[in-house]
Amino acid sequence: MKFDPVLADIRFGCGLSPRVGPPGASQAILDSLDAPDRVARTFPIEPFETFLIRMQERQRLSKIRRAQRGTPEAEAARKAIKVLNKTARIDQATWMGQHILRRTWTDAPFRERLTFFWGDHFTAAGKAGLIRRATSPYFESAIRPNIAGRFEDLLIAAVTHPLMVHYLDQDSSIGPSSEMAAKRGKAAGLNENLAREVLELHTLGADGPYTQADVRQLAELLTGLTLNFQTGTHFRKPFAEPGAETVLGKSYGGDNPNLGDIRAVLRDLARHPSTARHLARKLAVHFVSDSPDPDLVAALERSYRDTGGDLKALYATLLDHPGAWRPEGGNVKQPFDFIASACRALALPRTAFDGMKENRFRTLVIRPLGLMGHIWEKPDGPDGLDEADTAWVTPQGLAARLQWAVTVPQLLLPDLPDPRDFAQTALGPRASPPVRFAAEAAESRWEGIGLILASPAFQRM
C-alpha cells in the first residue's frame, strides 16, 4: 500500500480527468501547494475585502431609507437595495460555478480539496440580508491563502473574520463589567457561542480538557471582537471585559484589552496537544475513511505536535503513510465532490456556465445538490457537513445523485462521450465488469454516463 497515481487523484484530488493527468508522486502533490494559484486567476471569486464594499453601499442606502422615509430618495434607495441583493444572489451562484470549474481544470486539485476541508472546519455563513452571499468570498480571503501554512494563522484568520464574528454572534457579546454593559444595563450580555465553538469545534475537540469555566473565560476574553463594514474585523473596546481572563490555566489580557490578547490565546489553543489529536483524526476521516488506520492518525498527531501545527508537514505525513493508500473502504464523496468530480471527468468546458441564467444554474446544480443533502452555503450548524458516509448515502441522497447523473450532464455538454470510453476515463482501473456491462448495455448514451457516475466505484474516493 503505497502511492498510486489514480487513487491519489481520486482520494486527494478532484477525480480523474481526461485532460489533466494524475500526479506522479506524493511530492508533486505537496509541491502543487507552493505553485502559483493559476486556477484562481482563471476562474476568479470575489475576495471578502471587495464584498465589504457591497455592505458599505447597503448601509449607506439603508440610512437614506430610514432618514428620508416617504421621499422619492427613500424609494430610490429601496430599489437600489433590491438590485444590490439580487446582484449578490446571482454572484453567489456564479462563484459556485467557478468552484466547479476550478475543480474541473486545476492541476493542483489538492488545494481545492483542502480549501473546502478547512472552509468546512471553520463553517461560517451570513444569517440575513446581503451577508448570506459572503461565504465564497470568506473562503477566498480567509481560508484559501492559509491552507498550507501554520494552523494558528489559519485559526486566527477564520475566528477573527467578520463572517465568523457575525455567524457565531460574537458581535453582540458584551463583557458583563464592560463600559457598554454599564451603559445598557440588563439588555447587554455575554454570548458564549464563538468561545464554545472555538474550543469544541475549531481546536481542542468536544472531548478536550476544558470546562464550562474555560468557555466563559474565553467568551470574556473575546469580548470587543466585532465587525464593521469599513474595516471588517473591528475591536470595540467599550464591549471588552476589563481585567485578565484565565483559559486552560493561563492568564491573558489585562487593563488594556485588545486583539493581541485574542491572538495570543488562539495561538496557544492551536498548539495544544488536544488540538493535534482532534485535527489528526478529522483530517484522516475526511480524506481517507470513516474509520481510519489508528497508526495513520497517530502519525498525523505526532507530526502536528512535533512541528507546532505546520500544515504542510502534516499533509506530507498523510501522503507518505501506507494507511492513506488502502484502496478498499474509501469515503463516499460528499455531494459537492460528487458533482464537481463528475464535471472533471466530463471535462466540462470552461465556458459551460457563461451566459447561463441563474435559474437554470439553480435547476441544474444548486437544487440537486440540496436534494443530495448539501444546501449550498447554508449550513445546518457550525459543525458543518457530516463526515459519515451514512449521512450521504440515504434513499433520498442516492436517488438525487442517480437522477442528476443521468439527466444533467447532457444539458451541460454539447456532446456526451461514448459510455464505454467514459468508464475508463472516469474510473480507470476501477471500472469493474458490472460497470462496464452497464455502460455497454444502457439504451442511451446519457443513461450509460449516468450509471457510471452513480456507480459505487465513482462515488467512493
Binding site: 444569517k127 440575513a128 457565531l168 454572534d169 439588555a187 450580555g189 455575554l190 454570548n191 458564549e192 457561542n193 464554545r196 465553538e197 463516499v332 435547476t363 437544487r367 440540496g370 436534494l371 444546501i375 445546518d380 450548524g381 457550525p382 459543525d383 458516509d389 451514512t390 448515502v393 440515504t394 434513499p395 433520498q396 442516492l398 436517488a399 438525487a400 442517480l402 437522477q403 443521468v406 439527466t407 447532457q410 444539458l411 469493474s432 458490472p434 460497470v435 456491462f437 452497464a438 448495455a441 444502457a442 439504451e443 442511451s444 446519457w446 443513461e447 449516468g450 450509471l451 452513480a454 456507480s455 459505487p456 466505484a457 462515488q459 467512493r460
Partner: protein, 410 residues
C-alpha cells in the same frame, strides 16, 4: 430522568436494524419497522413567523379593530369561532373540522425566545426546544430527543419530509427523510442496470432498494419511458413544485401514506409567513397551503387513522400587534398554534388572553405571550406517547415547565 432500561432497549434495537439492513440489500424498508403505539403526530413548522392575530382574530377584544384597521374592508368576512375569536376567511374550508372538534387553536403563546426577533435564532430555539441560545445551539431537535425515548422506534417510525433540514427531527435517533422532489425516473432498462451497478457495494445496494421503494410510493412511478427532454421537464416540474402549493400537498399525501403504515411521527415545514407587506395578499397564500395540507391529511389518513392523529403547527414568533406602514406586520413575540386531527379536543381556542391595550402588549408592540408553547407541546407528547413529565421537562424541552394540563387531546 432517563429510564435506563428503555434507553438501552432502544439502542439495542437500532443497532440490530443497522446490521440487518446492511446485510440484506433486498429488504424493503416496510419490513423492519415496528412501533407499538397507535397514535400519530404531525409537526408542521411554519417558517417566517405566522401572524397569530390575523389567523385567529380576537374580534371581541376592544382594542383589536384599531390595531388592525385596513384601508379597505375585506371582501370575505372572517369565520366566527366562539363569539370572541374568529378565524381568517381563508380557513373557511376548515370550518367543518372546527364544528366536528377536529380543529383547534392555542393563542398568545411563544417559545422562550425574546427581543432580537431573528428568524434564524427564533427557528433554532423553536426546533431545538431549548430556553435560549446563550450557551450556543444544541445539535439536536426536541422531536429527535423524544424519539430516543419512544419504545421500539425503528427507522420508519419518524419521517422528516421536504427539503428543509428539519432540525426539530435531527439527532441520534434514526429518522427517515424524503422529499417528493427527489424523484427517480428511469427507463426500465436503466433501473435494472442501476441495481446491477449498486449491487457491488452493500451500503449502496440496500439504500438504493429503499430509494426505489420510496420514489415509487410518492405518486408517480419510477419506471419512465421518455427522452432526455421529457426527463428534464419532469425534473423541472418536480423542482417547481417546491415553490408552489403542490409540494406541500404532495408531502402531506406522502406523509399520510406512511402514517397509515408504520410511521408514527412526521415533520415538515410550510414557508411563506413573513408578511411584512400587503398581508391581505401574502397571508392567504400561506394559509391556503396550510389548509390544503390539513385537508389532504384528513382525506388520505381516512377514518380510523385520522382519529388517532394529532397535527400541531407552530411558528418561531408572532408578529407586531399593529399593522405597519405597508399594511403588513413586523417580527413580534406572542402568536398562535394550530391543532388539528381526530385525536385532539378541538372546537376551542385555548388561551389565557392578555388583552391588546398598549400596556398589555409585550414591549408595547407585540402580543404578550402568556404561556410557553413547549408546555402545550409537552402535554401533547405526554398524552400521545405516555412520556413522563420529568423526562419532558429535563430532556425533551430542558428548562420548560409543563404546568397544568391544557387538555388538548380527547
Amino acid at each position: 430522568m432517563t429510564d435506563p432500561l428503555s434507553r438501552r432497549a432502544f439502542l439495542g434495537r437500532s443497532a440490530l436494524i443497522g446490521c440487518s439492513l446492511a446485510a440484506s440489500p433486498l429488504l424493503t424498508p416496510v419490513t423492519f419497522a415496528s412501533a407499538p403505539g397507535d397514535n400519530r403526530l404531525v409537526v408542521i413548522v411554519l417558517r417566517g413567523g405566522m401572524d397569530g392575530l390575523d389567523v385567529v382574530r380576537p374580534l371581541g377584544d376592544p382594542n383589536y379593530a384599531a390595531l388592525r384597521a385596513m384601508a379597505e374592508p375585506e371582501a370575505d368576512p372572517p369565520v366566527d369561532l366562539d363569539g370572541f375569536f374568529a378565524m381568517h376567511p381563508k380557513l373557511r374550508v376548515l370550518e367543518p373540522l372546527w364544528k366536528d372538534g377536529d380543529l383547534g387553536f392555542v393563542h398568545a403563546v411563544s417559545t422562550p425566545y425574546r427581543d432580537k426577533r431573528s428568524h434564524f435564532d427564533g427557528q433554532d430555539v423553536l426546533e431545538a426546544g431549548i430556553t435560549d441560545l446563550s450557551q450556543g445551539l444544541t445539535r439536536d431537535g426536541w422531536l429527535n430527543r423524544m424519539l430516543q425515548h419512544y419504545p421500539g422506534a425503528g427507522t420508519e417510525t419518524a419521517f422528516a419530509l421536504g427539503r428543509d433540514p428539519m432540525t426539530v427531527m435531527t439527532g441520534d435517533a434514526p429518522v427517515s427523510r424524503w422529499t417528493p422532489e427527489a424523484d427517480l425516473a428511469l427507463s426500465p432498462q436503466a433501473l435494472r442496470l442501476a441495481e446491477v451497478v449498486m449491487a457491488e457495494d452493500p451500503l449502496f445496494a440496500s439504500t438504493f432498494a429503499q430509494s426505489v421503494a420510496l420514489a415509487g410510493g410518492d405518486g408517480d412511478p419510477v419506471e419512465f419511458t421518455g427522452g432526455a427532454d421529457e426527463m428534464m421537464s419532469m425534473m423541472q416540474a418536480d423542482q417547481r413544485a417546491s415553490r408552489g402549493v403542490a409540494l406541500e400537498t404532495r408531502i402531506a399525501s406522502f406523509a399520510a401514506q406512511r402514517l397509515r403504515a408504520d410511521t408514527r411521527i412526521a415533520a415538515f415545514s410550510i414557508n411563506g409567513w413573513d408578511t411584512h407587506e400587503r398581508q391581505d395578499r401574502s397571508l392567504p397564500r400561506a394559509l391556503g397551503r396550510l389548509a390544503e395540507v390539513i385537508l389532504t391529511l384528513k382525506s388520505e389518513l381516512r377514518g380510523p387513522v385520522w382519529k388517532k392523529t394529532a397535527i400541531v403547527a407552530m411558528t418561531e414568533f408572532g408578529r407586531t400587534a399593529r399593522l405597519n406602514g405597508t399594511t403588513g406586520t413586523d417580527h413580534g413575540t406572542g402568536g398562535a398554534m394550530v391543532l388539528a386531527g381526530g385525536a385532539i379536543r378541538g372546537g376551542r381556542v385555548v388561551a389565557d388572553w392578555p388583552g391588546l391595550a398598549e400596556a398589555d402588549l409585550y414591549d408595547r408592540r407585540d402580543l404578550m405571550p402568556t404561556r410557553d408553547l413547549r408546555a402545550h407541546t409537552g402535554w401533547l407528547l405526554r398524552g400521545l406517547y405516555g412520556l413522563n413529565r420529568d423526562l419532558i421537562e429535563t430532556t425533551v424541552f430542558p428548562g420548560a415547565e409543563l404546568g397544568d394540563d391544557p387538555g388538548l387531546l380527547l
